[in-house]
Symmetry: C2
Subunit: 346 residues, 2 copies
Amino acid sequence: MEDHMTTIKDIAKAAGTSVTTVSRALNGHSDVSAKTMKHIKEIADRLNYSPNVVARSLVMKKSKTIGLLVSEISREGTKDNFTFEVLCGINDCAAEYEYDPILFNTNTSKQRIKSYTQLCRERKVDGVILQGMKKDDPYLIEVVESDIPCVLIDIPITGKNVGYVSTNNQLGARRAIEHLVELGHQHIGFINGHEQAYVSEERFKGYKQAIQEAGLELREEWVVNGQFSERTAEFTAKKLLATYPQITALFCASDLMALGAVRAANSLGRKVPDSLSIVGFDDIVLAQYASPALTTISQNKYLMGYQAANMLIGLLEEKETNKSVLIENQLIVRESTAENKLKEWY
Amino acid sequence: MEDHMTTIKDIAKAAGTSVTTVSRALNGHSDVSAKTMKHIKEIADRLNYSPNVVARSLVMKKSKTIGLLVSEISREGTKDNFTFEVLCGINDCAAEYEYDPILFNTNTSKQRIKSYTQLCRERKVDGVILQGMKKDDPYLIEVVESDIPCVLIDIPITGKNVGYVSTNNQLGARRAIEHLVELGHQHIGFINGHEQAYVSEERFKGYKQAIQEAGLELREEWVVNGQFSERTAEFTAKKLLATYPQITALFCASDLMALGAVRAANSLGRKVPDSLSIVGFDDIVLAQYASPALTTISQNKYLMGYQAANMLIGLLEEKETNKSVLIENQLIVRESTAENKLKEWY
DNA sequence: TTGTACGCGTTATCAC
DNA sequence: GTGATAACGCGTACAA
């Protein structure tokens, strides 16, 4: 393989035309005669030409790339494949429209001085998708104020060039609680995520509504945060269950936390689902393989990613685009919930 | 936010110098006086300057990006997080050296006409990491012959600009078999992947060696392919076990296939591990949550990715770099293997 | 130490 | 239809 990359200049020389004509021919412009077009394309083929997108980007100010600012693409995020599924959806959609996703490095300490807009502008990405950011992330305001088109996952902000994709978290939480209520549970605790997550807010709203609609008493002390972490949730759930043994069911704002809660229950001698029902959220792959398999609110993570990319590309190509998408999620009943057999105790 | 991106030209104007000086100052060249350097940097700061890496790439012919050609970044690959963990490792290492990974789309049909080299050259990535390719992929040879630096994961090819990272598959397989032999198993089947995988070759070698060293008979008909697929493995394992009921242990070339094998066993009324022992490979997250939790050969997937990126960057920056890295893997004993209680039957 | 001039590969504007 | 020419933003011989 020769060292020299063939350029349109080479083609022009070989074809005996100007570079302008070559450029137009290769881009399928109509103002070039059929036969020179054919001629040029043949030569380009023969010379194994491929365009230099870098040069093209420079002049076009479009790079056909989208930036990905996602949390948890690092050692820790490996356990729950939420991020990965979202990524797959993004990638598939981007592929359809011939965009290439580029992963931004945001996790190194020295890199941290670079602002979000700097990252995007340096790489000249056409737009960005953000996932896993906290509500109080200092970059968030920067995002919205900048003119870089972006789509947020699970943060409901819209603007001229800003949209978001999320699932119906409130309804999802309600469905979880309703399921437990139907099983006869009346003392339902809630292991939420943390204050900086929009989804936690929403899921709490859903929890609250469902509890009240069922005519149950809302007890704030039964709602605790597990930081979306398995360990923290285990610890927190243990404390909660020890303090309020009358709780017969737990709703957890993530499957990972539900897994932690199951362990907490086990360590307290309470078997799931016989003496404690647990509902998770997300439907990660683990949920169906865990034992007991988790009853959970399933989020279509792949679709979230796909829709996010789709919206972003819509924004970029100035299509009529909805700036907010809410995906329905779904109750999946597995083995971690069962009828409350303890209700007569109270 | 203003629409105009500030360029070195703007800085030059503001500083009353030439663009050359600005360029040199910002890049920390030594041939610029301390005070103009300081002056220019201040102005750059004030103007919120960030370099246009596209323009820089064009002239430097280096983009500080690495291409990722990985299989299974699509809907199907979501279940086993192997790819994701590798990705995390790559990303973390790339971040350290300030490279940005860019995901290449290789899965769409129309895109398929573009060759790998075309993809790489168009995007002007400095190098590529390939993962999940089959041995007979027509593009593989193309990559190796091209002058684009690349690192292969699990394909042992080296060259001037080509290296690879893998784990010690042969030894891993041996350890699996030795473990089973120690438990008293003498009839050990093997659900391998497929012919196009280098790792399958190696694992078969290891299987063969260990079987022979244990003084057992190597029966080729006990070795079948499960295509690395859970379903196929389930089907295949069922047939194998039905045909040769004397088999008391199964070694599977992936955890996903081991999961399939467990189901096959269940459907045949053989309980794991009591009446059938199963060893997997990979140690995916599912392995520890499945029931029974899988005994498996653990591969450090994160490290594979990290080392691959590290090697590639070494290649790019012309460091003295080892062109082949073999990572040790490890037997993890969980619940899917047990002492053979059936041995007296034969 | 600093500035001038040019090139990287491409597209776009305007003539012809 | 086609071809000069300028521009995109940056780095670097070379000259001063």
